[in-house]
């Protein structure tokens, strides 16, 4: 804006505004002389200055006048009144302070709870995986056990879900599902390990089977189990509806009675430990129960009870049949017969003798527990197969 004026270069109208208002920096007098000299020589700029002066007149005359004396006096009084009401404001607004404190507490709680939440989510995820056939652990090389005797009624399905007859000598491995054909009780024998009999319509998942352990899950129906003597470190367990019946001795029977409600375990010989199998919600000392001979453990509608075996129930437990014999005769609809097995080695807690002594029955009615109930019991997502 401070270039010298010449007779050949005309200033812009903006510069004329600055020049005519006298607000441009520099030597005002010299610029004024320049301005007059240029205006004398340039008719276009003379016309421009007229416009600019009109513009400046507009601004000058359109300005709002200051307050009158009365208005000013009133304003003075109002501000003076303000001054007499001085109160030191708080450094931080209580509302802001509370907000910050609550936010900090929420962040702290979240950070503290996060590991537990992640662990719980992981456990539930693992549990859900185990419950789902599609996500059962894949068979690894060397896993599984070979069958010795397989009745014709036994069918097997792998992850694809295609059912086919289980052949004698075929290996049982993780991820397989067994069932008995309609109207048939069928038996699977793993020599030297165990023998299971599925009643009609029963389905059984093989969660894990190898040299030292056999974990089965009864999905529906009824399974009779006969287990050979377990060596130290060996395990055999049948899970159903979130509970697990683990072999503490050598002889037991698992039954799935369709007529009753809830889950029931009754022991006629030896001892059986019942606990919540892999249930992240139910796994606690309170849910672990050792059922002694003559006792019946019962779970129904969220309540567990340990009671003497009622005569009506005891009646259905029949004497064990020989291990090598078919079990069709030993089981009837809603009734399971205990199987005789070889004795377990003595355990301090179970004090199992050398003779067969463990018999128990688990009853899980398939139709009385909805997926939602199972979900609530297991604390995970609904199980759908």
């Amino acid at each position: 804006m401070n270039e010298p004026l010449t007779n050949t270069v005309c200033p812009s109208s903006d510069r004329w505004v600055e020049l005519l208002s006298g607000r441009e920096d520099g030597d005002t007098l010299a610029r004024h002389l320049d301005l007059q000299q240029h205006l004398d020589a340039c008719s276009a700029c003379r016309a421009a200055t007229e416009e600019v002066r009109r513009y400046q007149t507009l601004l000058l005359r359109a300005k709002v006048p200051p307050l009158s004396a009365d208005q000013r006096q009133a304003l003075d009084d109002r501000v003076r009144m303000l001054s007499s009401q001085w109160t030191p404001p708080p450094r931080v607004s209580p509302r802001v302070a509370w907000g910050v404190a609550l936010a900090a507490a929420a962040v702290l709680v979240f950070l503290m709870a996060r590991p537990f939440m992640e662990r719980r989510v992981q456990r539930e995820h693992d549990f859900a995986q185990r419950l789902s056939l599609a996500t059962l652990p894949a068979d690894r090389a060397g896993e599984g056990v070979a069958t010795g005797v397989v009745d014709a009624g036994i069918q097997v399905a792998d992850r694809s879900g295609t059912w086919r007859p289980l052949a004698t000598g075929e290996r049982l491995r993780s991820g397989l599902r067994l069932r008995s054909a309609a109207a048939t009780n069928a038996r699977v024998v793993v020599p030297g390990r165990f023998e299971i009999v599925l009643t009609q319509g029963s389905e059984l998942d093989i969660l894990s089977v190898h040299a030292n352990q056999a974990y089965l899950r009864l999905r529906q129906g009824e399974v009779d189990c006969q287990v050979e003597k377990l060596r130290p470190g060996q395990h055999f367990a049948v899970m159903s509806a979130g509970f697990r019946a683990s072999v503490m001795g050598t002889r037991f029977s698992v039954q799935h009675a369709s007529a009753s409600s809830g889950v029931a375990v009754q022991v006629t010989e030896g001892a059986v430990r019942v606990d919540a199998a892999d249930d992240p919600n139910a796994a606690s000392a309170e849910t672990t129960t050792t059922v002694r001979p003559g006792q019946r453990w019962h779970y129904e509608a969220g309540r567990m009870a340990l009671e003497p075996i009622p005569a009506s129930v005891e009646r259905i437990v029949t004497p064990a049949a020989p291990a090598s014999q078919p079990t069709a005769a030993a089981t009837t609809p809603a009734v399971s017969a205990a199987k005789s097995v070889k004795p377990l080695p003595a355990k301090p807690e179970a004090a199992a003798p050398e003779t067969p002594k463990h018999k128990f029955v688990i009853e899980v009615p398939p139709q009385t527990m909805t997926p939602e109930e199972i979900q609530r019991l297991e604390g995970g997502a609904p199980v759908s197969h």
């Binding site: 009109r54 007149t57 507009l58 006048p65 009158s68 001054s83 009401q85 030191p88």
Partner: protein, 204 residues
């Protein structure tokens, strides 16, 4: 020499302002009255030129000092008190301006006062009133940022540097906004015939 004196006076004035602010922060409420006595006219002028004809001018000035009362204890003296005061005034005036735009016709209630205080003949009063209305009509079409720069420079008479400091923007930005605002006002006023024909004679 004159410039040096002005700077010296300015430094003394700033020191006095700082002392008053410190006194207020210590609990002396009368310091606010003194600050008002020293800067009230300037606040009123800035607000008046920003808002234009308005019946709420006194309210605006009072609100500026209410805001001051609320915020003075946080003032740390990192900038000049007057700069900070200008900024507060501009913000309060803009709030009123936004509210006034929503109110619409109420904006022109204050026009009566425009002519009330002028000791001109009736014809001049009417003309001044019309001019004022026309000017603020034109200014109302400007974006807020350009409007503020234009009002502070052309009407309030602040320098580019003062506007730059008060608004926290660069001098070049102020120049740019002023250029566009002035161009709009100039052209629009000419199109609408708002430039008084006899003004040239008056000025000359």
């Amino acid at each position: 020499m004159a410039t040096a004196q002005t700077k010296e006076e300015q430094a003394q004035s700033d020191a006095a302002d700082q002392a008053l602010v410190a006194a207020y922060q210590r609990g002396n409420g009368h310091a606010l009255t003194e600050l008002y006595r020293r800067h009230g006219r300037r606040v009123e002028s800035v607000a008046r030129n920003l808002v234009g004809p308005s019946s709420e001018l006194e309210d605006i000035v009072q609100d500026v000092f209410i805001e001051l009362q609320r915020a003075l204890y946080r003032f740390r003296g990192e900038s000049r008190f007057t700069t900070w005061l200008h900024r507060v005034t501009v913000n309060v005036a803009l709030q009123y301006l936004r509210k006034g735009r929503r109110k619409g016709f109420l904006r022109w209630v204050g026009l009566d006062r425009v002519t009330h205080n002028i000791s001109h003949p009736t014809e001049s009063r009417i003309e001044a009133r019309d001019l004022c209305r026309q000017l603020y009509d034109i200014l109302g079409e400007l974006p807020e940022k350009k409007y503020v720069v234009f009002a502070l420079y052309e009407l309030e008479g602040m320098t580019l540097e003062e506007i730059s400091t008060s608004l926290g923007i660069s001098t070049n930005t102020v120049k740019s906004r002023l250029f566009h605002a002035r161009r709009h006002v100039f052209d629009t006023a000419r199109q609408r015939g708002a430039l008084p024909s006899h003004a040239l004679q008056v000025i000359k």
